[in-house]
Symmetry: C2
Subunit: 298 residues, 2 copies
């Protein structure tokens, strides 16, 4: 198959790398509004060539859309306007409700598969693209019933090449749960980085006193604002709920700290320790899911 | 030299491992109020034997104190009461003001070196002890002028074996800066873990939707409450300031989110991205500090 990847960053570039490695594709065409990223993706061997969106679509069977979510809602309808009957389109956006809504009544909706891979790093651009980024990770598919059997069949081949396991959720449920589990930790990390740089005026102290714990906690603060600002905007309702809960927990902790109620502080931390069990569940989950589940029911 | 290590957990155990590997010690004696930890430390080869504090002190040249900071303020004066003239005592507590104050007028204060290694993991107990945990990390020494030349000379031998670089700070300055750079990130992580487990009632969603970013951000929430509750209690003044700043930043971010002021949300995140430069400074710092600086001025 011939695949067009729109957006040659961390996610689009990593998908291209895996598809090429798997031998599933005869050609991968890159589309990126940033010309330097397009050139770099060719030089790094991520795509075979770069092209305009129109030209790329005219010769592709698959179009993968890995651009900021505010751009997806604009570009996806235009892509569905002009795709050939046999071409399928997959997005990889971190929000799903606005994207699904933007094409819910489109005549070619059935050629689209709404997807979100739970994978990534804090880096961005073609150089951030990695082989095997998605292996044993989760790919969430929304509104599966609105995609045609053909679209699901092709998407299934691609997801097998990425070695993800697929799960299904409704768009609003998806947005709610990723707000809690993913978007909130990005906000917490961005603002922790900001706070420490703000309060600790002498940067040399950060150099000298920060251990691996600090580095781990602020890692996500390196993430791309171009990707994340639109995600937060589209998911503001659930993110806001999650953020208020977080602030409430921090304030309550602060109250117990100030009261010198060390027993309660200890109790809260002991309860939070349960995250160890939850996280080892995650690790376990990744290890045991070596088999790739099918999108298509037998 | 014969070394007693009081507290056979992550820090005490890791120090014992490095000292043994370096060949600096003829014998390492472990002291731990948790009998199972003592037995395990012997079985893991971390210490040669376990003993009571009194018996261990009577035959040691060095005593390293790696127990919760509220225990340090209680036990350290008792240790200084009974040590031989030639024995030196080093603590490794994450706060320094209360500890230094607890012995500031002790007749044997000069036999004590107040130290804090900026190193660790989220794990605890003898099994968490690692070889080389301190290599190229920072050891902060407080009130160096109150330690005797002999104490500093012996401490210097130990710190060289650990391959740390030493820096000097006053206790209150130390507590202030570690509140900003280390203690706040622990609080942020503990409460993030707590919030997500609280708001996301269905644990399977956390399993399915959490990526490596979430795992990284809540890693410190696995840390030991026995170690951290007393640290927070002793450092409440500066930790409270840092925590209020963090809450203020989160609230301001929430305000801009709710106003749908995506440009401002983007600007805040772009500014937070500067943590990338600060963190690569940290990494650079660790790499280039292969030489071990001396505690003793030539």
């Amino acid at each position: 198959m011939k695949v067009t990847v729109v957006g040659l960053g961390l996610i689009g570039g990593s998908i291209a790398r895996d598809l090429r490695k798997n031998g599933l594709t005869s050609e991968i065409i890159g589309v990126d509004q940033n010309e330097a990223h397009g050139d770099l993706a060719v030089r790094l061997g991520i795509v075979d060539k770069v092209s305009t969106l129109e030209a790329a679509l005219s010769e592709s069977n698959v179009c993968i859309l890995s651009i900021p979510v505010n751009a997806v809602t604009k570009v996806l309808p235009l892509i569905l306007d002009q795709v050939k009957d046999s071409t399928i389109v997959i997005d990889t956006g971190s929000t799903k409700a606005a994207i699904c809504k933007a094409v819910s009544h489109h005549k070619n909706r059935s050629q689209f598969v709404a997807a979100h891979p739970i994978a990534g790093t804090e880096n961005s651009g073609p150089e951030a693209a990695l082989n095997g980024l998605f292996e044993n990770k989760t790919m969430i598919i929304c509104e599966k019933q609105k995609s045609s059997d053909h679209a699901l069949h092709v998407a299934d081949q691609i997801f097998r090449a990425l070695k993800v396991r697929t799960i299904f959720m409704e768009p609003v449920e998806h947005d709610k749960h990723v707000a809690y589990v993913s978007h909130l930790s990005h906000v917490s990390s961005f603002l922790l980085g900001q706070t420490v740089m703000d309060i600790e005026k002498d940067e040399r102290n950060i150099f000298a006193l920060a251990g691996s714990g600090f580095a781990s906690t602020v890692r996500l603060a390196k993430s791309s604002p171009d990707m994340w600002a639109p995600i937060f905007e589209q998911n503001v309702e659930y993110l806001s709920q999650a953020l208020l809960e977080y602030i409430m927990h921090l304030q309550r902790f602060h109250y117990h700290l100030m009261k010198k109620d060390t027993a309660e502080v200890h109790r809260i931390m002991s309860q939070a320790n349960d995250i160890r069990r939850v996280l080892s569940g995650i690790e376990l989950n990744e290890q045991k899911n070596n088999k790739v589940e099918s999108l298509i029911e037998d």
